[in-house]
Assembly symmetry: C2
Homo-oligomer: 194 residues x 2
């Protein structure tokens, strides 16, 4: 089992270590079974703790899902931050961010799968992953590169295309062509003047 969040808490309090174990267990089960079929029993089994312990830390399945979803959104957004490029071209920035976001989501399959399910369910996630996109779109519009008026709906449409690229690649394997086509379509939506 991937102990990503446990490893972060190795030297933290017992409470935090147990929470992290639950989180890692939950990620495994949520990714494999989806929210509705992810039982708390199986999460605690994977985490190596007793069933009842779960309830010392979380109220129910929904609350662990919320926490896991947010943590994953933050980790995936990190992939954007870490790989940010120095160009001033907003189109380039968007393509770069999109590419790395998709790449990471597909490489860490459990994250990708949970992200797909959590995106519509947890409002904070939409915000978290849209930050850079919104900044670069507004910038591109100001520079007259994108011949559109700014509109939240177009941001959502772009997100939906990104989610689709992730979904496909989680199903049929990593494929840079899919990501490139997605980038291309995003620029079309933004009415990018080449």
């Amino acid at each position: 089992m991937n102990k990503f969040f446990q490893n972060k808490e190795n030297h933290s309090s017992k409470k935090n270590r147990t929470r992290a174990a639950i989180i890692d267990g939950a990620i495994e089960v949520l990714a494999k079974k989806g929210f509705q079929n992810a039982s708390i029993r199986e999460m605690t089994e994977k985490a190596g703790i007793a069933n009842g312990t779960f309830y010392n830390h979380y109220k129910d399945r929904r609350s662990i899902f919320d926490e896991v979803g947010k943590l994953i959104a933050i980790e995936l957004t990190n992939a954007i931050e870490i790989n940010e490029i120095t160009t001033k071209d907003p189109a380039q920035k968007i393509i770069n961010a999109t590419t790395h976001f998709i790449k990471r989501s597909v490489q860490v399959k459990a994250w990708g799968n949970i992200f797909l399910e959590a995106y519509e369910e947890i409002p904070m996630i939409k915000k978290e992953v849209s930050r850079y996109l919104i900044r670069d779109i507004k910038n591109g519009i100001k520079k007259k590169l994108f011949k559109i008026k700014y509109d939240d709906f177009i941001v959502e449409q772009i997100n939906v295309l990104i989610l689709h690229a992730i979904r496909i690649q989680l199903k049929t394997g990593q494929d840079i062509k899919i990501t490139n086509k997605t980038s291309n379509s995003i620029l079309h939506l933004l009415n990018y003047q080449r």
Copy 2:
């Protein structure tokens, strides 16, 4: 309860009438609870039949979901056929079909909700609802109206935008502006030369 499919079978055999009752019941429950939480118990209650009767007609929840999903896809595609316009402009045809498809999906909420869930799950649905779209796209490319190469992936992207428009309107109410923005984005994806 909406008895749409039962009404079609009013003068059919007992077997067909019972099946139709199960289908109508299942639609109600699937729309309200989603696939995973739609119990067969509740479906048969709504249908006004005994629990065990379900199993004379369907193997399990998945098999009724498949049938319902396909029936709904066909009904929604009907909304395209019925409203087809005579223009030869493929762009117009696509916008018209999209508009009516979204409208119907949003008006019959149960259908819209089930369609959203079934689209990725049941391959036949993707095919069924893409038929007209593919025809018009190919036509538009031939006429040099859409400056792209034909690609199944772009069809999927368009579908994904349509699904998104439906999802939003099921959540926040019918809104022609959302549909229009979606149509506009579809033409952008097709690189439509105005």
